[in-house]
């Protein structure tokens, strides 16, 4: 199964706060069969101890070690919030990327994501695109990783 899949992408979302955004990103993982519902609470708990905000409007909420048993298959959800939601003081997230993984299959996707975060134009484009296929393409397109 593809790690980044169109059924786990929601464009034009609205979130009232960070917790709401995490629940929505988590729900996409639940409904597509990547995780059991309990994983979403793990995502919320994790965020309280360490923020997953990475910069340039991107956050990557995911569960904790104790939630790995709730992961059924590796998958990444994308909640695009064109107006953004406050993640940390003065930092808004426009792309909320939910991660479910119990192996290293998604490391290439994270490397692609790192490139997007370094490229402000690319990050802005994905935060406002109305074409979900563009997000799939940008995150799953195989690139040479340096690691």
């Amino acid at each position: 199964m593809a790690i980044v899949a169109i059924e786990r992408i929601r464009l034009g979302a609205v979130a009232k706060d960070k917790q709401d955004a995490i629940r929505q990103a988590g729900e996409l993982l639940v409904s597509s069969g990547c995780v059991a519902p309990g994983y979403v609470q793990g995502m919320l708990n994790r965020e309280q101890t360490m923020s997953t905000y990475l910069g340039n409007g991107v956050a990557i909420p995911h569960g904790q070690h104790e939630n790995l048993g709730d992961v059924k298959s590796t998958g990444i959800s994308v909640l695009q919030i064109p107006d953004g939601v406050e993640w940390e003081d003065g930092e808004r997230a426009y792309l909320v990327i939910g991660i479910a993984a119990n192996a290293d299959e998604h490391v290439g996707v994270l490397a692609n994501l790192a490139e997007v975060i370094e490229d402000e134009d690319a990050a802005t484009q994905l935060a406002h695109t109305t074409d979900a296929a563009l997000i799939v393409e940008r995150l799953s397109h195989a690139r040479e990783t340096e690691v």
Binding site: T52, L54, G55, I60, H65, I99, A101, A111, A114
Partner: protein
């Protein structure tokens, strides 16, 4: 706890993570890239904080895990950061290693 270590004794940096699912993978990659760009041949290994090797010499950990890392690896120089990508601490560590300076604890 070791308070410092000379750059010449650093051949491996242990990057401590919680679950190893997301943020720390981004951090490990960012640090490896910076070391490579600086021309430094230093290994970065990714370990859950709960199973840090007790003989680790240098551990990099998010500030939320740093105290736990100090308990697990009492002889290591533990360097805490707050952002997984582009934390200024990463650049300081790379610069010190490049200059052959001494690495010290960062709380």
């Amino acid at each position: 706890m070791a308070a410092s270590i000379p750059a010449s004794s650093v051949d491996t940096i242990v990057f401590a993570c919680e679950a190893g699912i997301g943020s720390s993978i981004m951090g490990v990659n960012a640090l490896k890239k910076k070391l490579k760009q600086a021309g430094l041949n230093i290994n970065v290994v990714h370990k859950p904080v709960r199973s840090l090797p007790a003989d680790a010499k240098v551990v990099i950990a998010h500030k939320g895990l740093a105290n736990f890392a100090r308990e697990r690896a009492p002889n290591a120089v533990v360097i805490a950061f707050s952002q997984f990508l582009n934390d200024p601490v990463f650049d300081q560590v790379v610069q010190k290693l490049k200059n052959g300076d001494t690495l010290t604890e960062v709380k």
